[in-house]
């Protein structure tokens, strides 16, 4: 009881390769803010309909991203000289707006807005066939890591961390691309998304080449429960159905391969 938690031997001793899965049947669906929600009704409504239909057969938790208002917040905040932690705290409002919008649309199918203080009730919500809608951005707020750029822990990272902590079945990021494309600087051949790729490989790409947050890839390298992240196109809702059925669609990112 008096042991130092910083001690390396204690760190080693507490390694528990098999953690208990708290919500093993749940699928976490993160709907991109900039990639899907900001596109408006043509992008959102078909996806909502699909999620509503699939939720009768699969346990689904929907998480929403921030999008353009989040970026605008960062732009203004940075111009004002606010620290990263303040940006993270203020940006949450954009995410909450998106969560509310998505919840309203999912309401006829059982969509309910669940705040982080109610996570312990998730089993009840899922058992009652509701579709919990959460904010994907992790609540690091003023405690976000310092950086010269925008907050490191964005909605991709938050989605994976929650899927990891609760030992969920899948973490699916819904964007507006068919999957992950390898950066191709030379060849003129038409690009196709890859079926599978490792976080390790993607970490060697530049920020511009990454379709997901760098920090999410870092978390994936350390994940014990949720070792795959699916990237699919929300403009093609049938991709979501395929992933939930366990079929190939989009790209699967794994830690090391």
């Amino acid at each position: 009881m008096k042991e130092s938690l910083v001690s390396k031997t204690v760190q080693q001793k507490t390694h528990q390769p098999r953690e208990r899965r708290i919500l093993p049947d749940a699928n976490l669906l993160k709907i991109g803010g900039g990639s899907v929600i900001d596109r408006g009704k043509n992008a959102i409504l078909p996806l909502i309909k699909t999620i509503g239909r699939l939720a009768t057969r699969h346990r689904i938790i929907v998480a929403t991203g921030g999008g353009i208002r989040e970026r605008h917040t960062y732009a203004v905040g940075m111009d004002l000289g606010l620290p990263t932690g303040a940006l993270a705290a203020i940006a949450e409002a954009a995410h909450e707006q998106n969560a509310l919008l998505i919840q309203c649309l999912l309401a006829p199918y059982g969509g309910i807005r669940v705040t982080k203080d109610e996570f312990e009730k998730l089993p009840f919500f899922l058992a009652s066939k509701a579709i919990p809608v959460i904010v994907a951005m992790p609540p690091y707020h003023y405690w976000e890591y310092p950086s010269q750029k925008e907050p490191l822990h964005g909605s991709d990272t938050g989605a994976l961390t929650i899927a990891e902590t609760f030992g969920m079945k899948r973490c699916i990021l819904i964007k507006d691309i068919d999957g992950v494309y390898r950066p191709d600087h030379v060849s003129g051949a038409p690009q196709k998304p890859v079926k599978k790729i490792t976080a390790k490989e993607m970490l060697s790409w530049s920020d511009d080449e990454l379709p997901v947050e760098r920090q999410m890839l870092q978390v994936l390298l350390k994940a014990r429960n949720c070792k795959k992240v699916y990237i699919i196109n929300g403009l093609k809702p049938q991709m979501l159905e395929r992933v939930l059925q366990g079929k190939n669609a989009g790209t699967v990112i794994t830690a090391h391969g």
Binding site: V6, S7, T14, A75, K116, P146, T161, G167, H185, Q191
Partner: protein, 266 residues
């Protein structure tokens, strides 16, 4: 087309907005540049009870009259017990982080009650924004040291114990506020080459840079390793000091920026 290809298909997919070009940081403001953030150790101070806490309360009460402080409090023995139980039950680090939060909150509440006559106010994280109200009325905010990550705690590289605990939370409060300095009050004179409680041959290090310290790869450290990692990217807090709170007057000396304890700097 060729131009697009050079960039990568994701550039447009992810960041289609023109705002991105404005995403660069100007000089970051210091929100409370005159405030010192002081962390009172959980196991090292609070768990020792009256013998360790009362003299420190007296010293803090005196300092609070003259200086603007924010006090954070660590977890300690009860955190360790909760962690041990949770690890045995196969709980993920995110659940451990949430359990640890409760203990550091208990300690913050205890310390606040003792400091209440001198203007100590307990601040839940949700009302962190109104910290200025308390500071400007001469009060001292007292906060639980744990960062609010809870279920969103990243899985550690090794083991189940959350890497971001009360030292990290304290450091980040100092950093986001652009505070004057961050002082950790523990029960050791500062940093040693090993845990001096177990290894009598451990030698004292009065001053060391983060890079040197990381390179030494010590088996144990007086401060959470994650703090060192975060210090490298810090904009405001370029050094932290660790002092022995069991020695009267040490905290006062540290607040006067005198040479006491260990200074870790970037």
């Amino acid at each position: 087309m060729a131009e697009n290809r050079k960039k990568s298909i994701h550039t447009n997919a992810r960041k289609s907005d023109a705002l991105l070009q404005f995403l660069h940081r100007k000089n970051t403001v210091k929100i409370f540049p005159d405030v010192t953030v002081v962390k009172i150790g959980g196991q090292s101070i609070m768990d020792r009870g009256r013998a360790a806490v009362y003299p420190l309360v007296e010293e803090l009460a005196r300092l609070m009259k003259k200086r603007r402080l924010i006090i954070t409090v660590g977890g300690g023995t009860r955190s360790r017990h909760a962690y041990a139980l949770a690890v045995e039950l196969g709980m993920p680090p995110g659940v451990l982080a949430k359990l640890g939060t409760s203990v550091s909150r208990q300690n913050a509440r205890m310390l606040q009650l003792l400091l209440a006559p001198h203007g100590g106010v307990y601040i839940p994280k949700e009302t962190f924004d109104i910290i200025g109200l308390y500071l400007n009325t001469g009060c001292t905010p007292i906060i639980s040291g744990m960062p609010p990550y809870e279920y969103w705690e990243e899985p550690p590289t090794k083991g189940q114990i959350p890497e971001c605990r009360t030292d990290v939370g304290t450091f980040l409060i100092g950093e986001v506020l652009g505070a004057k300095n961050v002082i950790f009050v523990k029960d050791e004179d500062g940093l040693y080459t090993d845990d001096p409680k177990k290894n009598p041959a451990a030698t004292f290090i009065p001053r060391i840079s983060v890079d040197e310290l990381v390179k030494m790869n010590l088996p144990d450290l007086v401060v959470e390793r994650k703090v060192l990692e975060l210090m490298k990217n810090a904009i405001h807090i370029k050094s932290i000091r660790i002092v022995n709170g069991l020695v009267r007057g040490n905290l006062t000396l540290a607040l006067e920026n005198k040479n006491v304890g260990t200074l870790i700097y970037t």
